[in-house]
């Protein structure tokens, strides 16, 4: 056991909690400082989800992935900033203040794993864990110019991940290189029977840049309305690079994209409204005012403890699940979700991976997005992978307006190896 000291100047507000000294043991990640998003439970270290409502909560147990990191010898040096409970695309919705983008501190780092992305992009840590419910790993990776991978749903145990939307989210690696992503995947995918939705499918793979003959599908919808033409052009350049390396590019259609965003927001807010019900002041946060009747005390705690965006999503989800509306919203969303899955399954009969931009634009200016709806719309390209449960990686792909752009590569279920290979090939191609 070695002790790694960590005393960074956190100029981008990437961390909620930093540890001055972290233990590191032998193993695949020995001596490597790793940041862990603050919605992943760490025994003895406060875990806030970027929310005031969890003030003072110190988990008595480690998330499965944290146990795995420790076993692999990694030094967990801090808990990274995030949009409250993962609800946001900018990391501005944090009770601990916004994180800034190291590529341009006047810009947001993306979200919700913005703290992890900034910590990696600024070089404070070599790797980080993020979580991705509708793009929360890939968006900040794209905005900050690093690599971020959302694994196949079920490949990484969610045990200890404080749930936002259980059926959509996955924990995944963020790093500056694809090889580091691969290295982390090897550690994180060790099976955990405590997560009933997890599958025993260990990732044990060395990235292979050979992509000759690979068929890459490019859905027209990924370059549709709302996608900044300059971003689109950078991504097309990237796709052309893959073509030069021997891949075959096939344009295709994804009709269900029209419903994806609605299906996503109904599903995630519904699940969130239920997941966040446990924060009632009885068990977490400062002692409740016991003079009040319990339901008033609950109301008061939730009113003052949750931020605006969280309250908005709880209200939306509560509405969507209400008697008389369930069929109209939640059930419809699940049907739409099945369509998205079917579209992907259909496409993967003819192509090996699907590529497109990660985000429709480059990083927003801090404070730029004030309208929640326009913020939601920016998730349009990342949510399909979560709805379908397929693996998806974002890899840096040039710049637009001097800001990083991300190329997104999606693959069939449990073919994380394949998307990582393509990302690796791309990374090799760019660096040469």
């Amino acid at each position: 056991m070695a002790t790694i000291s960590f005393s960074p100047k956190d100029q981008y507000n990437a961390f909620i909690t930093t540890l001055n000294e972290a233990e590191s043991g032998p193993g695949a990640l020995s001596g490597i400082p790793v940041a862990v998003k603050d919605n992943i439970s760490t025994r003895g270290i406060p875990t806030t989800c970027g929310s005031r409502i969890l003030e003072g909560y110190v988990p008595p147990y480690d998330a499965h992935v944290v146990t795995l990191l420790k076993k692999a010898g990694a030094a967990i040096v801090g808990k990274s900033n995030m949009d409250e409970f993962g609800m946001g695309t900018t990391t501005e919705n944090s009770a601990f203040g916004p994180t800034k983008n190291p590529a341009d501190p006047s810009r947001v780092p993306g979200g919700s794993s913005g703290g992890s992305a900034a910590a990696v992009a600024s070089g404070m840590v070599r790797m980080a864990l993020g979580t991705d419910t509708g793009g929360s790993i890939r968006c900040p990776a794209a905005f900050c110019g690093i690599v971020g991978h959302k694994p196949t749903y079920g490949r990484v145990s969610r045990y200890g991940l404080i749930a936002y939307a259980n059926s959509l989210e996955q924990i995944g690696p963020m790093a500056r290189s694809v090889s580091d992503i691969s290295l982390l995947m090897e550690v994180l995918t060790k099976y955990d029977p405590r997560d009933s939705t997890a599958v025993d499918c260990h990732y044990s793979h060395t990235p292979d840049p050979e992509i000759r003959g690979l068929k890459i599908g490019v859905p027209e919808e990924f370059f549709g309305e709302g996608v900044d033409p300059r971003v689109a052009s950078a991504v097309w350049d990237g796709i052309t690079l893959l073509e030069r390396k021997g891949a075959e590019i096939v344009t295709c259609r994804m009709p269900s994209m029209a419903y994806a965003l609605a299906a996503y927001y109904v599903t995630c807010t519904s699940e969130a409204s239920s997941n966040l019900a446990r924060f009632d002041g009885v068990r977490y946060g400062p002692p409740a005012d016991t003079k009040l009747p319990w339901h008033e005390a609950f109301q008061q705690r939730r009113q003052s403890g949750f931020g605006t965006e969280v309250k908005r999503r709880i209200m939306l989800g509560t509405f969507a699940l209400s008697s008389g509306y369930y069929g109209k919203y939640y059930a419809k969303a699940q049907a739409a979700r099945q369509q998205v899955r079917n579209d992907f399954l259909h496409l993967f009969r003819t192509v090996d991976v699907i590529a497109g931009p990660t985000m429709p634009t480059v990083a927003f200016r801090l404070g730029e997005k004030t309208d929640p709806l326009s913020m939601y719309l920016s998730d349009i390209l990342t949510v399909p992978a979560n709805l379908a449960g397929i693996p998806s990686i974002s890899v840096p792909c040039g710049k637009s307006e001097g800001l990083p752009v991300g190329l997104q590569i999606m693959g069939p279920h449990f073919r994380d190896e394949r998307v990582i290979d393509v990302a690796y090939a791309f990374e090799q191609g760019v660096s040469r």
């Binding site: 919605n39 992943i40 439970s41 875990t47 989800c49 969890l54 909560y57 988990p59 008595p60 147990y61 998330a63 969610r158 045990y159 200890g160 991940l161 404080i162 749930a163 939307a165 259980n166 059926s167 029977p193 405590r194 997560d195 009933s196 939705t197 519904s270 699940e271 409204s273 239920s274 966040l276 019900a277 446990r278 924060f279 009632d280 009885v282 068990r283 977490y284 016991t290 319990w294 339901h295 609950f298 509560t318 699940l321 209400s322 008697s323 369930y326 939640y330």
Partner: protein
């Protein structure tokens, strides 16, 4: 006059005004005004929702022990059953297996695919803000249980059987009214519960009780339930009074008179009590011409009454949706392979044949698993005698003491029956021995042997040593004393009053402290009285 003009009627017409009741109240409550005293054309309609704790070693979604009853609060907990952020449920297969046994024993169809759902509501004992239960895809549906109803054999239909987790428990030190704060104990959180819902097929509180007894016996025979554990059973009962035949004609879901949903009944006796109270309350309301609205009521066990709950403002929308942390259950094949043990009806038939028990004894003995097993352990002494002694005498004495048969050792009970069988103790003496031994067990947990007890109490049967006139015969001596002391009874006897003789027999028994054989007493008394006559 147009069609929608209100038809006015004097408020007091045909309505009894009760003290404290405003005329406007009566107007509101009044349907066509009439006072009803006769309910012979009505019937009581009852449906039950029963929650039983499944007797597994560990909780439904984690490995915590379910044996929490004697332990300090919050000692049988882990991140999962505390509902800590990030923890995930994992289904206890044993609990599902138990539930499948119940589904099968209740003749239900096990669904091809069933699923857990979240029932969302806020309450301080609910650690996650939702309960994991089952909603539109329960484990098993459409079964029945045959019971001995009010009018003979009756088939009570089972709507559904599903599995869910028990919430925690609120504790008010010093009582709910006096405590200044509420404590929460999560030891109970996550205990597997099975919910069994019946169709509204029961027609009286007594029938409801009988159904519950049969259900309890069935669950215990299956080895999935321990009725002796405190709080292991909770019942919600729906009850209404409808015109006869209404239910058959209109069926479920049709608007009849409003029903009461009585919540929070936690004992077998309580169910009958709560329902009996409701029948009276509803009939009284109908008598007063009131309209009965469907409403939730709470049973107050200590007072034996039901009280209205704050209804509308607390009405819940549970916002059920499939539990995203668990996969659907596909357990049809598993269910098909389950072989059930002998159930109460089968055992009753066997007792009739194998032991020659009377139908009533067979029903009583098999109505409780422990009693049935106890009987089988003592039956070899003399099946019929043992049946009487277990089903009538022992059961009565146990109920009187609120004791369980599990406290009684078959060994000494066998010895007691043998003493009675061979005539060493009279029936009366046997009861005295039994009472003494049960009292000892209740006080100290153990007891002497029946032989010791008979010796100590001096209950060994008095054997006759001579005839009625024999000076040394103890029975004859006692009889002569009684005849001398009771001239009036003797005179009555001679006047032909049969009761007088029974009285004299009783007096002799008293004098011998029950140790004389009744046959001896009869013979000796008749001898003495005959001589005199």
């Amino acid at each position: 006059m147009t069609d929608d003009a209100p038809i006015s009627r004097p408020a007091s017409e045909g309505v009894t005004r009760w003290p404290g009741e405003k005329i406007s109240d009566i107007q509101r409550q009044t349907q066509p005004a009439n006072i009803r005293m006769d309910f012979s054309d009505d019937e009581v309609i009852i449906g039950l929702e029963i929650h039983c704790q499944l007797d597994t070693a560990t909780k439904l979604f984690c490995g915590c022990s379910t044996d929490y009853r004697d332990d300090s609060p919050n000692t049988h907990v882990c991140p999962v059953c505390l509902g800590l952020p990030g923890s995930l449920p994992r289904v206890n297969k044993k609990a599902i297996g138990y539930a499948l046994r119940v589904g099968k024993a209740l003749n239900c169809t096990v669904l091809e695919e069933s699923e857990f759902a979240r029932k969302n509501y806020f309450y301080p004992d609910l650690n996650k803000g939702f309960q994991i239960t089952q909603y539109d895809k329960p484990l098993a549906v459409r079964g029945y249980l045959d019971i001995e109803g009010d009018d003979g054999e009756k088939r009570v239909r089972i709507t559904r059987v599903h599995v869910e987790e028990d919430p925690g428990r609120l504790v008010h030190k010093g009582g709910a009214d006096r405590a200044k704060y509420t404590l929460v104990d999560y030891n109970r959180a996550g205990i597997p519960l099975i919910e069994i819902v019946t169709e509204p097929d029961l027609r009286s509180p007594k029938e409801a009780r009988k159904f519950l007894n049969k259900l309890r016996a069935t669950l215990e025979y299956l080895g999935v339930f321990d009725s002796e554990k405190e709080g292991s059973l909770r019942v919600d009962a729906n009850i209404s009074i409808q015109p006869k035949g209404w239910f058959e004609k209109e069926g479920k879901g049709k608007e009849g008179r409003g029903r009461a949903e009585v919540k929070n009944i936690s004992s077998y006796k309580g169910v009958e009590k709560a329902l009996t109270f409701e029948v009276t309350r509803q009939k009284n309301a109908l008598r007063r011409g009131q309209r009965l609205e469907t409403a939730t009521r709470h049973f107050v066990e200590t007072r034996g009454i039901t009280t209205a709950s704050r209804s509308k403002e607390m009405e819940q929308d549970y916002r059920y949706f499939p539990e995203p942390d668990l996969r659907p259950l596909r357990v049809c094949d598993w269910a098909a392979g389950i072989v059930l043990p002998e159930l109460p009806d089968a055992r009753r038939a066997r007792f009739l044949g194998q032991y020659g028990c009377s139908p009533i004894h067979a029903r009583t003995l098999t109505g409780d698993l422990r009693l049935a097993e106890f009987y089988e352990q003592v039956a070899e002494t003399d099946p019929i005698l043992a049946a009487t002694w277990v089903a009538d005498t022992l059961l009565g004495e146990l109920n009187y003491r609120d004791m369980s048969v599990s406290k009684v050792s078959p060994g000494w009970f066998r010895a007691l029956i043998l003493l009675i069988k061979e005539g060493s103790v009279t029936d009366k003496g046997g009861v005295e021995v039994l009472r003494s031994l049960l009292d000892q067990i209740r006080e100290s947990g153990s007891c002497e042997t029946p032989d010791e007890c008979v010796g100590r109490l001096g209950l060994i049967v008095i054997e006759r040593t001579g005839g009625a006139g024999d000076a040394d015969d103890p029975v004859a001596m006692a009889a002569r004393e009684v005849v001398a002391e009771q001239p009036q009874a003797v005179a009555d006897f001679h006047a032909g009053k049969k009761e007088a003789f029974n009285f004299l027999v009783g007096q002799v028994m008293k004098k011998t402290r029950g140790r004389a054989k009744p046959a001896d007493v009869n013979q000796v008394l008749l001898g003495i009285l005959g001589k005199e006559g």
